[in-house]
Symmetry: C2
Subunit: 413 residues, 2 copies
Amino acid sequence: MKAVGVIVEYNPFHNGHWYHLDETKRKTNADCTIAVMSGNFLQRGEPALVSKWARTRMALEAGVDIVIELPYAFATQKAQNFANGAISLLSALHCEKVCFGSENGTIDNFESTVEFLKNNQQTYDQTTRQYLKEGYSYPKATSLAYSSLSNHDTYVDLSKPNNILGYHYVKAIHDQNSSMKAETITRTSAGYHDETFSHESIASATSIRKTLFSAEKNIEEIRNYLPSSTVNWLLSYYEENQLFHRWEDYFTLLKYKLLTSTPFELANIYEAEEGIENRLLTYISEATSFQDFMEKIKTKRYTWTRLQRFCVHILTNTTKEQLKPINENPIATYIRLLGMSQKGQSYINHVKKDIDLPILSKATGFSDELFMLDWKAARTYLAIFPEPLRTKLLRQEYATPPIRFNEEQRVYL
Amino acid sequence: MKAVGVIVEYNPFHNGHWYHLDETKRKTNADCTIAVMSGNFLQRGEPALVSKWARTRMALEAGVDIVIELPYAFATQKAQNFANGAISLLSALHCEKVCFGSENGTIDNFESTVEFLKNNQQTYDQTTRQYLKEGYSYPKATSLAYSSLSNHDTYVDLSKPNNILGYHYVKAIHDQNSSMKAETITRTSAGYHDETFSHESIASATSIRKTLFSAEKNIEEIRNYLPSSTVNWLLSYYEENQLFHRWEDYFTLLKYKLLTSTPFELANIYEAEEGIENRLLTYISEATSFQDFMEKIKTKRYTWTRLQRFCVHILTNTTKEQLKPINENPIATYIRLLGMSQKGQSYINHVKKDIDLPILSKATGFSDELFMLDWKAARTYLAIFPEPLRTKLLRQEYATPPIRFNEEQRVYL
């Protein structure tokens, strides 16, 4: 059996993801699709709209065979660590290929870009530092440094977000000496050629979330952009829990946390740099919402994403010390299995003996240091619920075994 | 002008306090009454029912001339530190006397008890340690040690809560070489002889709070036990803020804080001892309310009060390091003025030049380390309000000058 990996957030799973999934299967001819999915908090520094369990069900019903969790230590991080964590997990599961969406769409260009930057590392780093000194944010500085060095004909445009991730996936494969092959699929709307995925059926996850966060929550507005399984799980999540998670729901906890921390304590939080924590402390007292707070603290130097990620680490109380191992060696140390189809189950049975990492089917009884960070993230994510729902959901988080889906009969086991 | 000090929580101010205040004035013949009042959190480890500002107004209208805040560093502490902080403040304000309520009612008995324990310190400490080893709580162990050494005819019964505080007040006066004289008034209901304070008009603060916390909040049930000024301020506080503060309102924050802290981080919190923090971490996940949590963690060894105080320090994120100066030298370093009558104002003008501590009329621009703890307590206390009320109350907390009351015209200035 041959497996292909995809690296996803599914926040929520929509027709664009479906297109990418089908293209991935078609292009790679794999027997089994494995999704590495972020858990409670996402790379942009936001809580996931709905639980990892609901998102796992969306993925399984749309044709993913295995869903594993990208640990918090990688999921809420800059592209380099994010990519390294995800690639190390897919490698550990013996995927033959990984297939990612990108604006560029040509894998050879990614390969040559990685090669090019490796050969010009010193100049690139110097130029980046120069742009940083001029006050640009880190992503902007690297992108400027890169375009001053290369032309875009044969290299990848690294000012585009999915190209940046793709570059780091390919680089991680090289750095980790993985035998996985990378493939890419063009992600612009012009790239959606399949007739079942017309332009009218694709909308961004951002615009979908916007509708879900609105007071009206008019699901009819977005039904065309979502598989029916996603619509069902969104509706049932909302019915059960009475909310879609957003930063504003966590603002009371964030404000409390900031207002009871000393500058010294905040300086220990991951991503506290150059005294940015003092800026947060200055503005939090007067901020009446998360949006208001972000607008107050934003500068040219710090991107919105960077600041949101810092806020997530404050909220989950994740320290520099706790992420030190990951920054030194960004490799996953366990596989948290969230769900699988029958085919996924067969694949796991098939490769099990060759997998070097522990596979966690439940969360109990495993005390890896990085896994404790997933715990804190889950506990933070659930902290906003009223009792006794909070206690019930916490208990489920500890005890839930992987979701098992019979893809032929379309039933859960 | 001569001043007498009282040490209070006024949670809320009721007829028993009124009786004590009038008896204090009658007994000491002072020109001016100064109340040292706990701020946002109280000695039993609970949030104050209503804000320090509302409680200050109750005190001023009932005839207190000056209200100053007992800093958090003393207010949420064992009796010894509580007493030392309060006595040091009254001494700094050049009070001639301090007058406290006690079960014993005879000041000579307190003096001889302090003397007796000073002379038998070693035996007392040894016996206390012995009882601690047997598994008794600290208050129980000291009380048992004491009764095994003394008879109660000429000494004070130190198993009674107000006697314990009184003992520490008198001891603090000795230890600090203060020139203040102590007086005491009997606090049992049998002691209420004044005809305006009949047995029918006195109820405990606990029973009053119980009515206020009930769903009905039937103020008629408790009107007889409260001065009309207290009733008015309670009603207006509730109208403005829609709550009376209780532990349950803070349970979400406490659970969040505990569930995102490592055992190592909790071990740094003040009053974390003998691994008690691990007990809290074990039980918090399954606790659905503060009451439920307390019942789960309670043991013979740790009194309810002790555990509640620990929870307050966790909630406010107060570390051992931050309270180290107080444990080494429990003396106040500033005077936070909350309110005063015209007579109180005259007294302050009169003694101002002889007061060695800074008098804070606003909170801005003062950065004493202990004062920062008052800040954290206030921020925690206000954290439960919805926006924009929370931001408004935080701003008021920074900027509110002392309340000024014209006691003759019964108006605020």
